[in-house]
Amino acid sequence: MRCLVIEDDKQLREYIAQGLREAGHSVDTAEDGKRGLFLATTEDYDVLVIDWMLPGADGISILHALRASDNSVPALMLSARSEVDDRVRGLRSGADDYLVKPFAFEELLARVEVLTARRGGSESAETTSLDCHDLHMDLLRRRVTRAGQSIELNPREFSLLEYLMRHADQVVTRTMLLEKVWDYHFDPQTNVIDVHISRLRQKIDKGHDRALIHTVRGAGYRLSPEQ
């Protein structure tokens, strides 16, 4: 996967680039907005990581320019500004996701990988059912079965499992679950997400030889038939 990182802070740029390379991606970097925009328009990338505040042209102008020329490459916006207003502005300008500094690298990696997978078209609107190994989710009748046995889930557990299944084999972080499943941007103080997951795990994995919900150390969770 080809990534472009546009970030003026040298240390942060190298930190992101190195991390992405270690995760097996090829990475180009740009230290200012002009060079970033040039690379983004001339080369073909799978994902962009763009800082909001940049010398030359800021992140928002870059996105505006790209989207105006029908370039729909997924973009993750980085910003030190955490207010909801800024997040909304960032997303409206054409960013596909928004990450507030400081962040853990796992958070960035998880979001970048989810963005590129989305582009692959696995998440189409017409999907009526989701499968992972012997776990089956019927989105129309809102029913879940594992190995043919029906599993009772409350609406929140259902959406949680749905999100995990839509991003099967990918790491999803606790913050991503908060934002996407609960639809609130807040700091829960206590790790309540872990408790929600362990409840779901009880219903999905208990009594089955193969566990589907895995904890990824220091990052979050992954739904996958493989360990």
């Binding site: 930190y15 207003d85 909304v88 853990a104 941007h185 807040f186 829960p188 103080q189 309540v192 150390r217």
Partner: protein
């Protein structure tokens, strides 16, 4: 009438004024008596007509003068008392809201009371500058330390492994969390960022917050009860949810197994009232203001997880919306009295910016 009497008795300038006025009244009586005597022909019949007339004039002038002084001293007392009351009201409001940007009104510059107001204003300006200084220093510390801590985090991620790595990262993330919360409170208090105001159903928000913490309550064997109804309010959805989440989280932390946490949303005339009450140990009256300050954690709660920034954040969010926060006993008289935290928000927050 009783109100006037109370005002008169409790104000020092009124007391002086009244003393003066009483003296004048006595003088007035004496003068009137003198006039009566003068009018008495038997005593002054031997005196010439001219002197009699003169005495009468002097008497009348004295009465007029004394009456004037009486009215004047009452007027001055009223004027001074009103100004004192205005100063007291403004000072009280500043203490109440913590808004150091407010100033006393100075209507003249010649008397000591205006000098007092000017002096108090200078003190307020000085206080404001110092508090701002402290705030910006701590904000800068928090902000400037984040970058080196991020680098440290990167190094730990890269160069350590196993349990050590996880422990170090957890410790560091906790520190970063404290900085983030601290900066968040400051940013909300400063009011620099506009609120993302929308019409929000606060009842649904409270129900969502309790649903989010439900598994935690179940694990802790605490009954979580909600009693909500639809309540439309103009608020910042994410901030309000954060405030409610903090309240529920707090209540669950301090409620022993077998206890109960109740979340209630109801509407009053111009405001909505959201309260979370628990059956925990509660907070002694004299410590209730304390827990609203940053980093203050009561001795009993040192063992519980938390950083002492939960309630201050709720308070900042409440004030930013033009509302307030109240702490009281949930069930007064009972053995563990419990705690009820009530968040009051005006229905139209945007029009009353709590700057």
């Amino acid at each position: 009438m009783r109100l006037l009497l109370q005002r008169v008795l409790r104000s020092s300038s009124y007391q002086v004024g009244i003393l003066f006025a009483t003296l004048m009244l006595v003088g007035l009586a004496v003068a009137a008596y003198g006039l009566l005597i003068a009018a008495d022909d038997r005593l002054l019949s031997e005196a010439p007509e001219a002197i009699q007339a003169e005495l009468r004039t002097v008497g009348w002038v004295m009465i007029l003068l004394l009456a004037l002084i009486f009215a004047l001293s009452w007027g001055v007392a009223y004027y001074v008392a009103t100004r004192f009351e205005r100063i007291a009201a403004t000072t009280g409001r500043i203490i109440e809201t913590g808004n150091l940007r407010e100033r006393l009104s100075v209507d003249s510059s010649w008397d000591d009371l205006s000098k007092l107001a000017v002096l108090l204003n200078r003190m307020l300006a000085e206080l404001e500058a110092r508090v701002d200084g402290i705030k910006s220093v701590s904000d800068n510390i928090a902000h400037d330390l984040r970058t080196p801590l991020m680098r440290l985090r990167a190094r730990i991620e890269a160069d350590t492994e196993g349990d050590t790595r996880d422990e170090l990262l957890a410790e560091l993330d906790h520190t970063l969390d404290i900085f983030r919360s601290l900066l968040r409170i400051s940013s909300i208090e400063a009011g620099k960022q506009p609120l993302a105001l929308t019409q929000v159903d606060a009842g649904a928000l409270l129900a969502d917050a309790t649903a989010f913490y439900e598994p935690l309550a179940e694990e802790a064997a605490v009954r979580l009860v909600t009693e909500v109804r639809e309540l439309t309010v103009e608020a910042d959805r994410d901030l309000l949810f954060q405030a409610l989440a903090n309240l529920v989280d707090n209540a669950l932390k301090f409620t022993p197994a077998g206890g109960q946490v109740s979340c209630i949303a109801r509407g009053e005339k111009d405001e909505i009232v959201l309260s979370v009450e628990d059956s925990g140990p509660g907070i002694p009256v004299d410590e209730r203001d304390l827990v609203l300050r940053r980093f203050v954690r009561l001795d009993d709660s040192r063992s519980a997880p938390g950083n002492g920034l939960g309630l201050p954040l709720v308070l900042a969010i409440a004030r930013r919306h033009g509302g307030g926060l109240e702490l009281e006993e949930a069930s007064p008289g009972k053995a563990p009295p419990g705690l009820r935290v009530t968040l009051r928000l005006p229905r139209a927050a945007g029009h009353r910016d709590a700057a």
